[in-house]
């Protein structure tokens, strides 16, 4: 990726203010780039600063020190907040805090009404967004009677309707059931294939394994960065950081201890199956059958 970053985070420090004397520092000189079309995962334990950094990506928070640039616009430039938010949309952990309307389709259309999208286009975008999250059948229902997972899909639809270039998900799947999660991840994969930049802040190691690049936060700093395979090879380091590896990696490591020929550097379920195939076929060939 030689192109210009879509988002540039430069030496950002941030602290939450408790009262006039007391600050709780959360970020210490963090620098990172998000490139157009990439799928970046940010992981780290509760309190590591990953949520705080993600809230800097579209100006919900602005740095105490340092700068964040979205497509060349500094997020301190409050007058251009509209442009920033139209490029980088964000979905949070708790859907209840993101739902504003009394009917599902009105909730999805809420952001569009605010920016004055014509009715015909608005309908198309709402249709697309509801379809994308598999909630079309619920468009006339009141959101407060939906389950947590369904509400989250509505919140994601609301962001998708804005057609941002980058979707930031701050633990957006952590309240969903595994099927709901799989659906959202399928939606995200599709959006990513179609060119959307994805930043996924997650506690699910298997989600991070699906990204192009993983950043690991610890104590408000970047502790590790690399491809999922490089990052998840570091079992011990991750454990120190209160994290884990995908189950596929744990299984691979376990099997590798018993059968050294079995690769320990696996991160996806299908890779484990392929490795079993490789070894059993090799053995079948060796025995001449």
């Amino acid at each position: 990726m030689t192109n210009e970053p879509l988002i540039r985070v430069e030496n950002v420090s941030f602290s939450y203010q408790v009262n006039q004397e007391q600050h709780i520092p959360v970020l210490h000189g963090v620098s990172l780039e998000v490139y157009p079309g990439e799928h970046l995962a940010i992981i780290g334990h509760n309190g590591s600063g990953k949520s705080t950094i993600s809230k800097h990506l579209n100006g919900i928070l602005t740095p105490r020190e340092g700068d964040v640039w979205v497509n060349g616009i500094n997020t301190r430039d409050k007058k251009r907040m509209h442009e920033i938010r139209s490029q980088v949309g964000m979905v949070f952990q708790h859907p209840d805090n993101q739902i504003v309307a009394t009917i599902v389709e009105e909730d999805v259309a809420f952001g569009l009404e605010n920016i004055g999208v014509p009715p015909e286009e608005m309908k198309q975008r709402v249709d697309f967004a509801l379809e994308a999250v598999g909630m079309s059948a619920f468009r006339h229902r009141p959101p407060h009677h939906l389950s947590g997972g369904q509400k989250q899909r509505i919140a994601i639809a609301g962001v998708l309707a804005m057609k941002p270039r980058c979707l930031v998900m701050d633990e957006a799947t952590s309240m969903l059931d595994s099927c709901g999660r799989q659906e959202i991840l399928a939606v995200v994969r599709r959006l990513h294939r179609e060119g959307m930049t994805i930043v996924n802040v997650t506690h699910h190691m298997s989600e991070a394994a699906a990204a192009d690049r993983v950043i690991v936060m610890e104590g408000g700093r970047i502790a590790l960065e690399g491809t999922p395979r490089d990052v998840f090879a570091q079992h011990e380091r991750l454990r120190e950081l209160h994290l884990d590896v995908p189950d596929a990696s744990r299984i691979a490591a376990w099997v590798h201890r018993e059968v050294p020929a079995f690769s320990p550097a696996l991160i996806h379920n299908e890779e484990v199956v392929a490795e079993v195939n490789r070894l059993t076929i090799k053995r079948a060939e060796a025995s001449g059958s």
């Binding site: 334990h45 509760n46 209840d96 009677h145 376990w254 379920n269 079993v276």
Partner: protein
């Protein structure tokens, strides 16, 4: 099964009954939980799990059917709700919402204080509950609640419920949103409460690794019905059940099913990571 501590019979619930928005959340649900059991309730979003557990401490009263908790009839019009809630502690899905005091110790003390317990007893219970969830009483009691991390807030909320000394602990998605270490710690705490303190535990979860690790028995909900019940091995070992009710599998089980689909003789009921790995070792060595 020994004498059930919870008995749900033919429970049905309809939201906004007799309006155009009428929505049937539970249909004819029957379940029994023995004292000391650890029960998981699973099912996809909207299957009625949360509606069901809100009956267990009387937040919702039965419209039809019965719910009996340790001899208390939840549908009885003169139900002593306070007595019920001393028996059944409910930890909601976003327990951050249940924290409203400025200091950790005060928040945990709120319930026992409202029960009218003497101050010394309140203090003793707060200390006991905080230590149980892994919060040091000395260090944490005077911390401001808003400055806690997600995992710590979850522990504070859990301690607040435990301080009421319930016999039954009901948890809605206890580890959602926690990092792997905090999740692992909290699961271990819940397991100990169940195994060592003898608490009956009922938890709703969509995390199948968690269900595999904790539950003695699993109830599967779908479209408001309790469609099947069994040990984790029964449930995860049956592709028919998993497919029919759109239940996710632990990742270890997903790998086993993929292997079985390719013709390998594996036991798909081996749902723990170590068991699954052992299955693979056996396959390769055969």
């Amino acid at each position: 099964m020994s004498q059930p501590i919870i008995e749900v019979r033919n429970l049905s619930h309809v939201y906004m009954q007799n309006t155009p928005l009428e929505h049937r959340a539970l249909t004819d649900v029957t379940m029994q939980v023995a004292a000391g059991e650890c029960i998981a309730i699973i099912g996809h979003t909207g299957s009625g799990k949360s509606t069901l557990i809100q009956h267990l401490n009387g937040l919702i009263r039965p419209q039809s059917g019965t719910v009996i908790v340790n001899g208390l009839d939840v549908s009885h019009p003169k139900l002593d709700v306070k007595a019920l809630r001393r028996q059944v502690g409910l930890v909601f899905q976003n327990p951050e919402d249940q924290i409203f005091e400025k200091l950790v110790g005060d928040d945990v003390a709120y319930g026992p204080f409202k029960m009218g317990l003497p101050l010394e007893e309140v203090r003793r219970r707060v200390q006991w509950a905080m230590e149980l969830v892994g919060l040091s009483f000395q260090e944490m009691k005077d911390r401001p609640t808003f400055a806690l991390s997600g995992g710590q807030k979850r522990k504070v909320a859990l301690a607040g419920v435990l301080a009421l000394a319930p016999k039954v602990l009901v948890l809605d998605e206890p580890t959602a949103g926690l990092d792997p270490r905090s999740r692992s710690e909290l699961l271990e705490r819940i397991r100990r409460l169940n195994r060592e303190e003898g608490l009956t535990v009922i938890f709703v979860s969509h995390n199948m690794e968690e269900v595999a690790r904790l539950a003695d028995r699993v109830y599967v909900m779908a479209d408001g019905r309790a469609v099947c019940e069994g040990t984790p091995r029964d449930i995860f070992g049956s592709q028919e059940i998993l497919r029919a009710h759109r239940i996710g599998t632990p990742e270890s089980v997903d790998i086993l099913y993929r292997l079985r689909d390719q013709g390998y003789p594996v036991d798909v009921g081996a749902y723990r990571v170590e068991e699954a790995a052992d299955q693979i070792v056996t396959l390769i060595r055969q």
